[in-house]
């Protein structure tokens, strides 16, 4: 089938990617710079028989999304900084209840209301650790409009396959940027649907994993009757405070992501074969990093780029594999604290020089900013 190409915005690509992936329920609350996703969904979902709801706040949005997912819908929500903060408690419920769903966080500059319309990449750690209690999470970060589409599809696939919430950590730049998007034809990209129970309704236990570490998920309204709870629970979904059970469950919530980390962690490399210096970037900053690397090469500096499409689980292995080739790493990111740089340092150890390029004033990191740091001797 011919691919259709259109000039579209990142947010629109996210909404269309979600529907391509099979999403049929959206609940959200408007917030810049994510609102176009809600607007697109309100237009597109009813046409494909889906449900669009604008809720009273982000707490309700993520709650409704979870409810719809348990009723059998591929469901999602989209927000930005303040709204993402409000969602944390119920995101924890989605982790605990092993509810497949996708949360789009179009990052904007904080703290608090901050620079409401400006880009940032300062929620990297909040995405990972924003909730109370021990838990793991999958998070992806697009750098182009095309990736807005394809990574949204991936996010749904991971959510459905591993029975987890997945965060798409976009940023204001990719979300509002317009690029040509060559739309994958229907059926061209792999679409994963959650595993349904194969046992009889009497035998079904909603939290008993099979050999692949994933428990099948029925839908409310089917012949399978089941309990889901935010409390510690056993295989049957009823509360269970037994320490041995709690220990098993907390580990299991981590284990299923750890087991599949090689499928989940996606990176791209550019010119890393002969490099002397490595730029590690994610999201919109990847674009500046690639431009800077090319300009550095023109100046005789062999620079390569590693793009992190998956930011959680962190690409330890992929970064460590490149470590022996270089002495210097540059990590540009739109935050003050070097949230990714710190992780890179943890992976590569104290003997590698990590040069940080940080912006936290709502303006974007330019190739020039990065070149300056590459050239610093």
């Amino acid at each position: 089938m011919e691919r259709e190409t259109r000039l579209v915005q990142g947010n629109q690509a996210i909404a269309e990617g979600a529907i391509y992936a099979g999403a049929r329920f959206y609940a959200g609350y408007p917030i810049t710079p994510s609102s176009e996703i809600a607007e697109e969904c309100s237009k597109l979902l009813p046409k494909v028989g889906g449900v669009y709801m604008q809720m009273e706040d982000e707490i309700a949005s993520i709650a409704a999304m979870v409810g719809a997912s348990l009723a059998g819908a591929k469901s999602f929500t989209a927000t930005s900084g303040p709204g993402f903060s409000l969602m944390q408690e119920n995101l924890g419920l989605a982790v605990m209840g092993e509810v497949p769903c996708v949360i789009i966080n179009v990052q904007r500059a904080g703290p608090s209301t901050g620079l409401a319309t400006k880009p940032a990449q300062s929620d990297v750690m909040q995405v990972r650790w924003g909730r109370h209690g021990d838990q793991s999470i999958i998070a992806l970060s697009p750098a182009t409009v095309e990736e807005c589409f394809t990574l949204t599809v991936k996010a749904f696939n991971f959510a459905e396959k591993y029975r987890v919430p997945v965060v798409l950590a976009a940023d204001e730049i990719v979300a509002h940027m317009r690029e040509n998007l060559s739309y994958p034809a229907p059926g061209e990209l792999e679409i994963v649907d959650r595993k349904k129970p194969s046992v009889s309704p009497e035998e079904y236990k909603p939290f008993l994993p099979e050999d692949d570490d994933i428990a099948p998920l029925a839908a409310y309204g089917s012949e399978y009757v089941f309990h889901v709870t935010s409390s510690m629970h056993g295989y049957d979904g009823y509360s269970n405070n037994n320490p041995a059970n709690a220990e098993w469950r907390v580990a299991q919530l981590h284990r299923k992501i750890e087991r599949y980390r090689d499928e989940i962690v996606m990176t791209k490399t550019f010119d890393t074969e002969d490099m002397d210096i490595l730029l590690i970037a994610f999201g919109a900053t990847t674009r500046a990093a690639r431009a800077a690397a090319l300009q550095a090469r023109e100046m005789g500096i062999k620079a390569g780029v590693l793009q992190l499409l998956t930011i959680w689980p962190f690409p330890d292995k992929e970064i460590a594999a490149l470590g022996p080739r270089i002495k210097t790493v540059v990590v540009p990111e739109m935050n003050y604290s070097g949230q990714v740089a710190g992780e890179v340092q943890r992976v590569l150890g104290p003997n590698i020089e990590i040069r940080r390029v940080n912006r936290y004033n709502g303006t974007i990191i330019t190739p020039k900013d990065i070149l300056k740091v590459i050239n610093k001797e």
Binding site: R24, F25, A27, K43, P46, K47, G49, V51, M53, M55, E56, D57, I59, A60, S61, A63, A64, M65, V66, G67, A68, S69, L70, A71, G72, A73, S75, E89, N90, L93, G97, A219, Y220, G221, S222, E223, V225, F226, H227, V228, T229, S230, S231, G237, Y238, S239
Partner: protein, 272 residues
């Protein structure tokens, strides 16, 4: 004639329940399950969504579908379930703290949407689970573990709020008036659109102990005396009304529910 027991919805071996002796929650649960049975609810077509609190623990004892959520948010989770699958009977169990204090915003909007959920809010005038602290429904001057000198704030009338926000069905019962309570719940469950049944209920362990009603029987007598019909209430003079409340059906109307309206709009979108 045999009466419905509701036992078939109770999990085997769950007795004794975690609730204190004299707590009203068991009576409400029993009446809700009898109503389920009289309406032929099945485990498959029913989803009980609970919040957090002593009453919110009710799903532990049920064999229907269930979703035990976070404090105050049960209605929002239930909204997603119902909006995606309108065929389900979705029943939402919340305490006064859960349903209208921390969860007040969701309560207003669920009623405003008139989404076809039945909310059963058990009002025991305080936060039972966390040790009897003040709630939005605690009457003025009453003592709780965080208003030891008396509550300086005014109480919220849950039913009036539901009515103002647009609920199709609003009723108040008490656990003393069990038979009537079952019928009110049954009516709420049968009604399309948002239904609220407020159940006034004793928490002898905290609210009772803090307000000279430590013995459960004293609390039941208090419900018996203070819960009166609309007609009786109207006969009271303003100064007599203090402490009394109306029980029975308060609102019954037929505005279109959310799902019906959404389907109309969706048909418009699909035709465009």
């Amino acid at each position: 004639m045999t009466h419905a027991t509701g036992l078939k919805y109770l999990k085997n071996g769950c007795l004794p329940l975690m609730w204190c002796p004299g707590c009203g929650h068991g009576i409400t649960l029993g009446n809700m399950l009898r109503a389920f049975e009289e309406l032929d609810f099945t485990n498959e077509n029913t989803v009980v969504v609970t919040g957090i609190g002593c009453w919110g623990k009710a799903d532990d004892y049920l064999v229907t579908n269930a979703l035990h959520t976070t404090h105050g948010r049960a209605l929002a989770f239930a909204t997603g379930v119902k909006a995606y699958n309108p065929k389900l009977n979705v029943v939402v169990l919340m305490g006064d703290g859960d349903g209208v204090t921390i969860g007040g915003n969701h309560f207003i909007h669920a009623a405003r949407r008139n989404i076809d959920l039945t909310a059963i809010i058990v009002n025991n005038y305080n936060y039972g689970m966390t040790g009897g602290q003040v709630s939005a429904t605690t009457p003025s001057d009453r003592r709780t573990s965080t208003t030891v000198y008396g509550n300086p704030e005014r109480e919220l009338d849950v039913c009036a709020l539901a009515e103002a926000a647009g609920a199709n069905y609003v009723a108040r019962g008490t656990v003393y008036h069990g038979w009537d309570l079952k019928n009110l719940i049954k009516e709420g469950l049968s009604k399309k659109g948002f239904s609220l049944v407020e159940v006034v209920s004793p928490c002898p362990t905290h609210f009772g102990r803090n307000n000279n009603m430590k013995v459960a029987v004293k609390m039941l007598n208090w419900l018996k005396e203070k819960g009166v019909t609309k007609e009786k209430y109207a006969q009271l003079t303003d100064s007599q009304k203090d402490g009394y409340f109306i029980i029975g059906k308060l609102v019954d109307r037929d505005a279109p529910d959310y799902n019906t309206r959404y389907e109309e709009i969706r048909a418009r979108a699909m035709g465009s």
